[in-house]
């Protein structure tokens, strides 16, 4: 018995409380599986429990590898959930639905055009003015006689099905719709985890739609630029849908920028690239309208670009979607859409909306007043269903301003199976469809983002499979194969903020790796966590612990303490802390990095999550992840960003070698101890083998110093790190071969090259003062070099901030 048939048997029971019967996406009313699912149940993927669980496990692993996250409003970053069973739309159903979606986008665009233009809908009484003018999405900043053109380019529409299978619009998402990135990622994951497609009809691939979207954006460009520059404006990695935005930017091959990366000059938008300004033609906006321009919109916003609204109004840039499109998300518009469609498009509305009543109409309010508490009441501005458990507050709010509220029966969502704790259970689902501008009309994506709902909120996603009529039907119904698109080949553009993040990426990655190696070089760790051996009596261990910033008092030194050096994010200089910082900068430049970076993080995450008593095993697994990370970045395109990353890595390595030596070998110790200290230092610098080969195990400090300071052939030496730094530095756009960072480096290289190692090794008292001074000097110069580098290459100036230039003064 397959899991699906079990589900069908369970689903066919009449609803327990006699509630309204919902449409089941998989099971027909007669209890049999719907047609496309019959093949699924009988096909290669028999959907026995074990198969499903295997697929679910793979999906989870892929999502983890790809680092897919979602952040709840106000919450922390959470893993993205994808249920293995897709929502399936047959070719026949899609034919109807796609026509409705295209019409809806056209209609919404026409509504926006009218509301910010001739206002025929208000003048002729088709829409009540207070419904529109009291909505916070109505932006007076763009409601001016002088206007830009089409404002709606990407539309999302949340759908459900009635018990009879009729699609219904629940909500329109217009002002900065999210989810396309997730939808594309979901498909990437399911196509890897579920192969071959177990349905009897082929599924529309999503990839061919990407050029359509890119063309829609390029087509929005105001100038007749042959190669319009498109950017995605993001609020940053703290955004709820940061992954969605970064993934979309990556797929489209457009830079992911923040407000600070853009500047308005001469009424046009420019991007800071390589020390100069490049014109931007289209801004795909994921910052909410209110936060997009501190000059004319919210003055306290640090996410926007001052002057952006003016540039858009002048038509020198096109912001997609337009600032005013939030007005279309008003649920109070839904009951008027039939009439609006007749008025503006002169045709009947194809896709009905869920029944909703606008309470601003006195007759409607009078009719519903006594039933309000049994209905779902929500504000037109959003914010969810009002709490019916506080009836007085609800009724008072509605009576005070009825035009601000709508009421409707609770939505009966369609149902579908969801894999939960190994079995298929029925859950409520919704489908978000996407439609983009295409020529003079709109084109829907044959696919979408499915959601598993609990109390109306999404708790997991589902892939959406739109089936083809036949195998010969082209993907997405696009007869022409996708042509190479305008911006696809362009290398990601590195604005100073991106260079800065990649530079720190390099530094943290190197720091984490160095930390793990130092930890593994601790004799106590290497020999199976022999805590006795890192008692205060062992200067070699002490020296390395100093490098790790772990100076626990003898009494505190237990296994937990030792683990904290690796795993405690709050402990300064711990490996975990470097990893957290590393991941944060990686998230902020996600579009610049290969997907493999997230696979490497998945390795370190799993190592940390499964950390047991054997610290060495955990540390080694973390090291494997970090080495994978290194491999990933080594194979990046060698562009500006990569060179900034290289500078970060080389600089950090130089600093770490110096710090290691000054903590370990500047003090002279008895020969037997010295030997162990040297071993530990060589272990931490991955140089044991080389040293042994050259010096046959003899402990000579000069040999060690040569290997770690001046040997250009040892990649772990200071000299090699500086050479690498020089190569990367020279390739950056602001370098002139005589810039300050280059001059500082040149001096330092000469100094390191010319140093007299035997002099450094000389001892006076117990200390090697020459070595101490040299290392201190090198550290100081590296720090100055880092500062000079940051100032020249990474800084883009102070952030704009709002000033109310004139406060009121009154007579």
């Amino acid at each position: 018995m397959s899991a699906l048939r079990d589900y069908a048997a369970a689903t066919n029971q009449p609803p327990l409380q006699g509630g309204p019967r919902a449409f089941d996406e998989v099971v027909a009313p007669d209890g049999t599986l719907r047609r496309p699912w019959r093949a699924l149940a009988a096909g290669p993927l028999d959907l026995a429990d074990v198969d499903l669980r295997r697929v679910a496990h793979q999906i989870g692993r892929h999502l983890e590898d790809d680092g897919v996250t979602y952040r709840r409003p106000g919450g922390t970053s959470d893993r993205w959930h994808l249920d293995p069973l897709p929502l399936v739309v047959t070719a026949q159903e899609w034919a109807t639905l796609s026509g409705g979606l295209a019409q809806r986008a056209e209609l919404l665009d026409a509504v926006a055009d009218d509301l910010y233009g001739p206002r025929r809908l208000l003048r002729e009484g088709v829409l009540p003015p207070e419904l529109v003018l009291a909505h916070r999405g109505f932006r007076r900043e763009v409601s001016r006689p002088r206007r830009a053109g089409r404002s709606l380019h990407v539309v999302a529409c949340d759908l459900t099905r009635t018990a009879s299978g009729q699609w219904q619009v629940v909500a329109d998402r217009t002002q900065a719709p999210s989810g396309l990135g997730y939808a594309l990622e979901n498909r990437r994951v399911t196509s890897r985890a579920i192969t071959p497609t177990p349905l009897d009809a082929p599924v529309h691939r999503l990839a061919p739609f990407v050029p359509v979207l890119r063309d829609a954006l390029a087509g929005a460009a105001p100038r007749t630029a042959s190669d319009p520059r498109i950017v995605l404006l993001t609020p940053g990695p703290e955004s709820e849908t940061a992954y969605d935005q970064a993934h979309l930017a990556t797929v489209l091959g457009i830079p992911l920028v923040r407000g600070d990366d853009l500047v308005v000059r001469g009424g046009a938008v420019w991007m800071r690239v390589r020390g100069r300004l490049e014109r931007v033609d289209v801004v795909l906006r994921r910052v909410d309208a209110a936060w997009s321009d501190p000059l004319e919109l919210r003055g306290d916003s640090r996410l926007g670009v001052p002057g952006l609204v003016e540039a858009d109004r002048r038509g020198s840039v096109r912001v997609v979607n337009g600032f005013g499109t939030g007005v279309l998300e008003n649920p109070g518009l839904l009951p008027f859409m039939d009439h609006v469609c007749e008025v503006l498009l002169d045709e009947p509305l194809r896709l009905p909306c869920v029944p909703v009543h606008w309470l601003g109409d006195p007759a409607t309010l009078a009719r519903l007043r006594t039933d309000l508490l049994d209905l779902e009441v929500r504000a037109i501005d959003g914010g969810g269903v009002l709490d019916a458990d506080a009836p007085d507050a609800l009724l008072a709010a509605v009576e005070a301003a009825p035009h601000r509220y709508v009421a409707g029966e609770p939505i009966v969502w369609s149902r579908a199976p969801r894999l939960d704790a190994g079995t298929l259970t029925a859950c409520e689902v919704s489908l978000r469809a996407f439609t983009v501008a295409h020529g003079s009309g709109y084109r829907p994506l044959a696919g979408g983002l499915g959601s598993v709902l609990q109390d109306g909120r999404s708790i997991a996603s589902k892939d959406v499979w739109v089936l083809k009529e036949s195998a010969s039907e082209p993907d997405q119904g696009l007869e022409e194969p996708a042509r190479p698109s305008v911006a696809s080949g362009a290398a990601p553009i590195a604005v100073p903020r991106v260079l800065q993040d990649l530079y720190w990426f390099g530094r943290y990655a190197e720091r984490a790796e160095h930390g793990v190696r130092s930890l593994l070089a601790l004799p106590a760790v290497g020999d199976g966590l022999d805590l006795d051996r890192i008692g205060p009596g062992d200067p070699a261990a002490e020296a390395l612990l100093g490098v790790l910033g772990a100076s626990g008092a003898p009494g505190e030194r237990d296994a937990r303490w030792l683990q904290s050096i690796l795993l405690d994010e709050r402990r300064p200089s711990s490996v975990a802390q470097s990893l957290v910082a590393l991941r944060a900068v990686a998230a902020s430049v996600r579009d610049q990095l290969s997907i493999d970076v997230w696979r490497a993080f998945a390795v370190t995450d799993r190592a940390v999550a499964s950390a047991g008593t054997d610290l060495a095993v955990t540390a080694e697994q973390v090291l494997v992840g970090l080495l994978a990370l290194r491999g990933t970045t080594e194979s990046m395109v060698h562009d500006d960003g990569w060179h900034a990353l290289e500078v970060g890595r080389a600089l950090e390595r130089a600093l770490q070698v110096g710090a290691l030596l000054s903590r370990t070998v500047t003090t002279m110790r008895p020969l037997s101890v010295e030997e162990r200290v040297h071993e530990a230092v060589l272990g931490a610098t991955e140089s044991v083998v080389t040293h042994r080969r050259r010096h046959r195990g003899r402990v000579r400090l000069v040999g060690l110093l040569e290997l770690l300071l001046t040997d250009p052939d040892n990649p772990r030496s200071l000299a090699a790190a500086l050479e690498r730094l020089g190569h990367a530095l020279a390739r950056l756009p602001m370098s002139t071969s005589s810039s300050r960072p280059e001059r500082l480096l040149e001096d330092l290289v000469a100094q390191v090259r010319d140093v007299d190692l035997s002099a450094l090794a000389r001892v006076s008292g117990q200390r090697r003062r020459g070595l101490e001074d040299h290392l201190e000097d090198v550290e100081g110069q590296l720090t100055r070099l880092a500062d000079a580098f940051a100032e020249l290459h990474l800084v883009s100036g102070p952030s704009p901030r709002s000033l109310t230039l004139a406060r009121r003064v009154s007579s």
């Binding site: 003015p129 007076r140 308005v264 000059l295 003055g299 301003a401 000033l803 109310t804 004139a806």
Partner: protein
């Protein structure tokens, strides 16, 4: 009367400002009873980019950007305006106030003023406002009479005290403090009118003042001002000044109107700078021309 208005705003910063973006509502508009003879806005340092536009309410707005490093920014408006006593249809003022509620009118093309009868971001009209407004609006009272009565009461009940409120004060703050400045009185009166379903707008401009008897006129002693206009079913606007308890006449120069202060703030801006403090100096002169 002809008036010459000079309105100078000067910002002084403690560090160099590299870029400065501004949005100014300083140019007057033609309105019934007011003719603009000349008007200009000068910016020092010179704005590299500026453009004029008409906003949602029909006001003249100016966008400007200064991109030369500066530590002082001056924006000066110079206006010549001719003002006559506005005449307003007495019949509409004599009709019951209930007839002037735009949302209650069927078939009358009043949709354009509906937004001025609704709450706006900083002018709500909850319980306290409603209670305060009610005594001025007994059923059937003439619109003009009701509005003037409200103006008298706001003038009598509230003390003119700069410093008791700030730009972010709410209507309820003003009601509780029983004090404020012209902006507060105007917004409170607007809230009261809207709480009764009437359409009211916030008007910004200038009021010509006379020096105290026997004293010389002090340069820059005048100020920006704000008052209220209430809509009549004749499509006209009755302008009243609750701060001075008088109807708006030929000593008033109108610049712009909107739902509330934020729609017409004379100058707002964004600077790009490390500056930590700034000093603001505003000088206004309204002189007979």
């Amino acid at each position: 009367m002809r008036w010459h208005v000079r309105h100078r705003t000067r910002y002084t910063y403690d560090d160099v400002v590299t870029d400065s973006y501004g949005h100014a509502v300083l140019l007057p508009r033609d309105v019934p009873g007011q003719r603009v003879l000349s008007a200009q806005v000068d910016v020092d340092p010179v704005a590299v980019d500026r453009s004029e536009d008409i906003d949602h309410f029909g006001n003249r707005v100016t966008y400007l950007q200064v991109d030369v490093p500066h530590t002082r920014l001056t924006v000066e408006a110079d206006l010549d305006v001719e003002v006559e006593p506005a005449s307003i249809d007495p019949e509409a003022l004599g009709a019951p106030w209930e007839a002037a509620r735009p949302r209650a009118l069927d078939g009358v093309p009043a949709w354009e003023v509906v937004e001025l009868a609704l709450e706006s971001p900083s002018i709500g009209h909850g319980g306290a406002v409603l209670d305060y407004a009610r005594p001025s609006f007994p059923p059937g009272r003439a619109l003009g009479e009701a509005a003037r009565d409200l103006m008298h009461r706001v003038h009598d009940d509230f003390a003119y005290e700069p410093g008791t409120t700030s730009v972010t004060s709410t209507i309820d703050d003003v009601l509780a403090a029983r004090a404020g400045v012209c902006q507060d009185f105007a917004q409170l009166m607007i809230a009261c009118l809207r709480s009764q379903g009437l359409a009211a707008r916030y008007v910004s401009g200038y009021l010509a003042t006379d020096p105290p008897p026997g004293r010389e006129r002090v340069v820059g002693a005048d100020a920006t001002h704000a008052w209220v206009a209430v809509w009549t079913p004749a499509g006209e606007w009755l302008a009243l000044d609750p701060t001075n308890d008088q109807p708006v006449g030929e000593r008033y120069v109108t610049i712009a109107w909107g739902r509330e202060y934020a729609d017409v703030s004379p100058l707002k801006g964004v600077i790009v700078s490390e500056a930590s403090s700034s000093e603001l100096e505003v000088q206004v002169d309204v002189l007979p021309a």
